[in-house]
C-alpha cells in the first residue's frame, strides 16, 4: 500500500465516520461540528486529487463560512427546554429511508463499478475555441479557465454565478427582513 492509498483510506474512514456522526447525532450542535470534520476531510481528498485551490476554497467557504452560518441559524432557532435538538423521524420512516438511500447508493456504486468510461475522444475536435495549455500551478490554471478571454474558459457560467449570488443576497434580505 503506497502512501497515497494510506492517506486515502484514513481520510475516507474519518470522512464516512464524521458523516455518520452528522446524520446520527441527536444533538444538532454536535452534528454541526462533525460537519466541519466532513468538510475538512473532503478538502483532504481534494488535495489528494491535485485540487489545491478547491481544497483551500473548501476550507474557507464550507468549514468557515457555511458552518458559521449554520451555527448562527442554530442559535437563532433554538427552542428553550428542548432536549433532543436534532430528532429522528419515526422508525418506520427511518427504515424506508435506509432502504431507499441504500438502493440509490448501491445502484450508483454497482453501475460505476461495472461500467466503462470513455477512454478516447471522438475523432473530430468538437470543442469551440482554442484550448490553451494550462500551467501546472493549480490556482493559475483555474484562474485562466474561469475568465481567460482568449482561451477556452468558463466565463459565461462565471458571470451567471455572480448574478446567482446577487439573487441569493436579495432573496435572503427580503425573506428575513422584518415586516415593515
Amino acid at each position: 500500500m503506497d502512501l497515497a492509498s494510506l492517506i486515502f483510506w484514513i481520510i475516507a474512514v474519518v470522512l464516512v465516520a464524521a458523516a455518520l456522526v452528522v446524520v446520527g447525532q441527536r444533538n444538532i450542535v454536535h452534528s454541526a461540528l462533525a460537519l466541519v470534520v466532513v468538510f475538512a476531510m473532503a478538502s483532504g481528498i481534494f488535495l489528494l486529487l491535485n485540487a489545491e485551490f478547491i481544497a483551500i476554497v473548501q476550507i474557507l467557504i464550507y468549514a468557515g463560512a457555511v458552518t458559521i452560518l449554520i451555527l448562527f441559524a442554530l442559535m437563532l432557532t433554538r427552542i428553550a427546554g428542548q432536549r433532543v435538538t436534532n430528532p429522528n423521524a419515526r422508525p418506520l420512516a427511518m427504515a424506508v429511508a435506509l432502504v431507499v438511500s441504500a438502493l440509490v447508493g448501491l445502484g450508483i456504486i454497482f453501475a460505476a463499478t461495472v461500467s466503462q468510461f470513455a477512454q478516447s475522444a471522438p475523432a473530430a475536435q468538437l470543442l469551440q475555441g482554442t484550448v490553451c495549455s494550462l500551467p501546472s500551478n493549480n490556482v493559475i490554471a483555474i484562474g485562466q479557465l474561469l475568465y481567460s478571454p482568449s482561451c477556452y474558459s468558463y466565463v459565461l457560467p462565471f458571470e451567471i454565478a455572480t448574478v446567482v449570488l446577487l439573487v441569493a443576497i436579495v432573496g435572503a434580505i427580503v425573506i428575513s427582513r422584518e415586516e415593515e
Binding site: F46, I54, S133, L134, A172
Partner: protein, 107 residues
C-alpha cells in the same frame, strides 16, 4: 494496489448515500440542510476525481471537474444562505424548525 477512480467514486457514492439518509430522517430543517451539504460534497469529490482521472484527450487538458466543483461550492453556499434565511423566517412565525410539524399545506 494504487488508487483508482473507483475508490473515489465509491467514496462519493457512500457519502452521498449517508447525506441522503440524513436528509430523509432528520427532522430539524437545519440538519436536513447539513445533510444536503454532505450530498453536494459527495458530488464534488466525484467530480474532482473524474477531473483527475480524465483520460479523454483533449478534454483532459481542462480541469473541468474542478471548475464545476467551484461553481457548486458557490451555489451551495448561496443556497445555504437562502435556505437558512427561510428557516429563520418560518421559525419566527411558527416557533419550530421541525419539518414534521411544518405541514399546514397538505392534501
Amino acid at each position: 494496489m494504487g488508487l483508482t477512480l473507483t475508490h473515489f467514486v465509491v467514496l462519493g457514492a457512500v457519502l452521498f448515500c449517508i447525506g441522503l439518509y440524513g436528509a430523509l430522517t432528520k427532522r430539524n430543517a437545519i440538519a436536513i440542510l447539513m445533510s444536503i451539504e454532505i450530498m453536494l460534497n459527495a458530488v464534488n469529490i466525484t467530480l474532482i476525481a473524474f477531473s483527475f482521472f480524465n483520460h479523454v484527450k483533449p478534454y483532459s487538458n481542462l480541469l473541468t471537474g474542478q471548475i464545476f466543483a467551484i461553481f457548486i461550492i458557490t451555489v451551495a453556499a448561496a443556497e445555504a444562505a437562502l435556505a437558512l434565511a427561510m428557516i429563520i423566517a418560518i421559525y419566527r412565525k411558527r416557533q419550530t424548525v421541525d419539518v414534521g410539524e411544518i405541514d399546514m399545506l397538505k392534501w
